[in-house]
């Protein structure tokens, strides 16, 4: 028999979101930069460039991009760049709030299904399957149609259609954690059900939950845009990406492409940056799952 030295300490990549930027992959840094600029611009917009939502200037309609109007004007003479910024502001706000609400609903349903188990679990998961079988947008339209058009209606429409994946994630995480030996060890040490849940199960689920929330924001933003594009989202005079793309269509044939292309590009750029960053975060959290969007 030989005396074996203890193995050296192991290291592994940090799981913190902030660690993503270290080691600077150009794509990741670019995505973070785009997102930072967009968020700061959206936050500061009302202070720097106040916008009168109903201001119409029928003399200066469909002006091409120029130093005065960076992205031109639409068919009512409104500045497209400024309205895109305000549209993005609304979209990101709605997206973030809706994703949070959806996470709370999904997290609760998943936690109950994953910890209570048995008949409750089966019943809840059948409800999830049933709702998941319906097309998202159709269900979302049904929900906004029942409510008065408002910010709250749009958020409800997104949250009530997007909590399903979160519920499934939380449930399956809890089920796989529950059978891990360290849970047995905790029980053997005398831990109660509540203690195991709060000290050993939930802390492991929370990073997943945070990730699921951020991954959901781009989806929520697109859902809001789709609803507004169909005229079911925010009231038409409010700047919203969906409203602007819809309005801009009319100008397309006259050659004023900027009225719908610019807000569309703004939406695509920001949501792609968000998706890329969260995808990278997911890779760090669980290298077994490959991100769909590699940077």
């Amino acid at each position: 028999m030989t005396d074996l030295a203890p193995a050296p300490a192991r290291t592994r990549p940090s799981r913190r979101p902030s660690a993503l930027l270290r080691g600077g992959r150009p794509g990741v840094v670019l995505a973070a930069g785009v997102l930072a600029v967009a968020v700061v611009a959206c936050l500061l917009a009302p202070l720097l460039w106040p916008l009168d939502q109903s201001a119409v200037d029928l003399v200066r309609t469909r002006l091409a991009p120029s130093p005065e109007h960076l992205a031109g004007t639409d068919d009512l003479g409104r500045d497209v760049a400024l309205r895109s910024l305000y549209g993005l502001r609304v979209s990101l706000l709605v997206g973030a709030v809706a994703a949070l609400v959806a996470t709370v609903i999904g997290g609760l349903v998943g936690a109950v299904a994953g910890t209570v188990g048995g008949r409750v679990d089966r019943a809840l998961m059948r409800v999830v399957d049933t709702i998941a079988a319906l097309p998202h947008l159709l269900l979302g339209i049904f929900i906004v149609a029942m409510l008065r058009p408002s910010l709250g209606a749009v958020i409800a429409s997104i949250a009530l259609t997007h909590w399903l994946s979160t519920a499934r994630i939380v449930r399956s995480e809890l089920l796989s954690l529950r059978s891990r030996p360290f849970i047995d060890a905790a029980i053997s040490g005398g831990a109660s059900r509540a203690r195991v849940l709060t000290r050993h199960l939930l802390p492991h689920v929370l990073p997943r939950l945070a990730l699921a929330t951020t991954l959901m924001v781009p989806h929520a933003v697109w859902h809001e845009t789709a609803l507004s594009f169909l005229g079911l989202g925010l009231p038409p005079h409010l700047a919203s990406i969906g409203n602007m793309i819809n309005d801009g269509q009319r100008s397309l044939l006259t050659g004023a492409w900027w009225a719908s292309i610019v807000p569309g590009l703004a939406l695509v750029t920001v949501t792609l940056a968000l998706a890329a960053l969260t995808g990278r975060w997911r890779d760090r959290l669980d290298p077994r799952v490959r991100a769909e969007l590699q940077l």
């Binding site: 028999m1 030989t2 005396d3 074996l4 203890p6 193995a7 050296p8 300490a9 192991r10 290291t11 592994r12 891990r180 030996p181 360290f182 047995d184 060890a185 905790a186 029980i187 053997s188 040490g189 005398g190 831990a191 109660s192 059900r193 203690r195 195991v196 000290r199 050993h200 802390p203 492991h204």
Partner: protein, 247 residues
């Protein structure tokens, strides 16, 4: 068919008269259609070391989990000092729970990756509401017992070796001064010196507390040196599913 695997010839000291110790009576466990344990009896008296061996899949670990009150058998019961234990997992009375401890094969799987080694060792004490000052003192005492230095105690499981982590798990298992320690291949993953150290700590603890030890191992040398008696589990009660012939 009744499979009685406990050695009927040598009941240790007065165990036959006053049934002290941890006992499994007629334990049967199924996993799906597979019968893992078929009416198994096992008794661990205070101070004795019962070796448990058997081929892979014979239900050694399952029996240990049943004895540790972590798995409800399909039939049969577990008794502590002659009194049957009601409930399993969360439903075990605290007075019973703290008297039986289990040490798993993989310390890595058995430790919460978020906790430092000190928190790991203190977890059972905190779970049963031990005052903070007492928990701190007892944790230091346990760490000293298993030979963990204080700089290791602040590390998380991923930053220590298997041997160091298993020592922390042993300290955690001994936190409540259990009367019975179930070692499920607890030294199989360790290097020789750590193995010897863990064995020494367990034997020392056993002598001082006259604790009963269940020793599950494939290592004949360990059984020969340590076990008071050895119990054999027969192979899998049901043939494993037929595998297609490989070319």
């Amino acid at each position: 068919m009744t499979t009685t695997v406990d050695d009927p010839t040598g009941p240790p000291d007065s165990a036959a008269v006053t049934p002290t110790g941890l006992a499994a009576h007629q334990i049967t466990v199924h996993f799906g259609r597979q019968r893992v344990l078929d009416r198994v009896d096992l008794h661990i008296a205070p101070g004795e070391t019962v070796g448990l061996r058997g081929p892979s899949g014979s239900g050694k670990s399952t029996l240990a989990r049943v004895l540790a009150l972590l798995h409800a058998p399909d039939s049969g019961r577990v008794a502590l000092d002659g009194r049957p234990v009601g409930g399993v997992r969360y439903r075990v009375p605290a007075a019973v729970r703290t008297r039986v401890a289990i040490l798993f094969q993989s310390p890595r799987a058995a430790s919460d990756p978020r906790l430092s080694l000190a928190d790991l060792i203190a977890a059972p004490l905190r779970a049963t509401g031990t005052p903070t000052a007492e928990t701190t003192a007892r944790t230091a005492e346990l760490a000293d017992l298993v030979g963990l230095t204080s700089d290791l105690l602040t590390r998380r499981p991923h930053a220590v070796s298997d041997g160091q982590l298993q020592r922390a798990c042993l300290a955690r298992a001994l936190a409540h001064r259990p009367d019975h320690l179930l070692c499920d291949e607890a030294t199989a993953m360790l290097d020789a010196s750590t193995q010897a150290h863990v064995a020494a700590v367990v034997t020392d603890y056993q002598r001082r507390h006259s604790a009963g030890v269940l020793l599950i191992t494939h290592d004949p040398a360990l059984l020969a040196r340590w076990a008071t008696r050895v119990v054999d589990l027969p192979g899998a009660a049901v043939d494993p599913p037929a595998r297609p012939p490989t070319r």
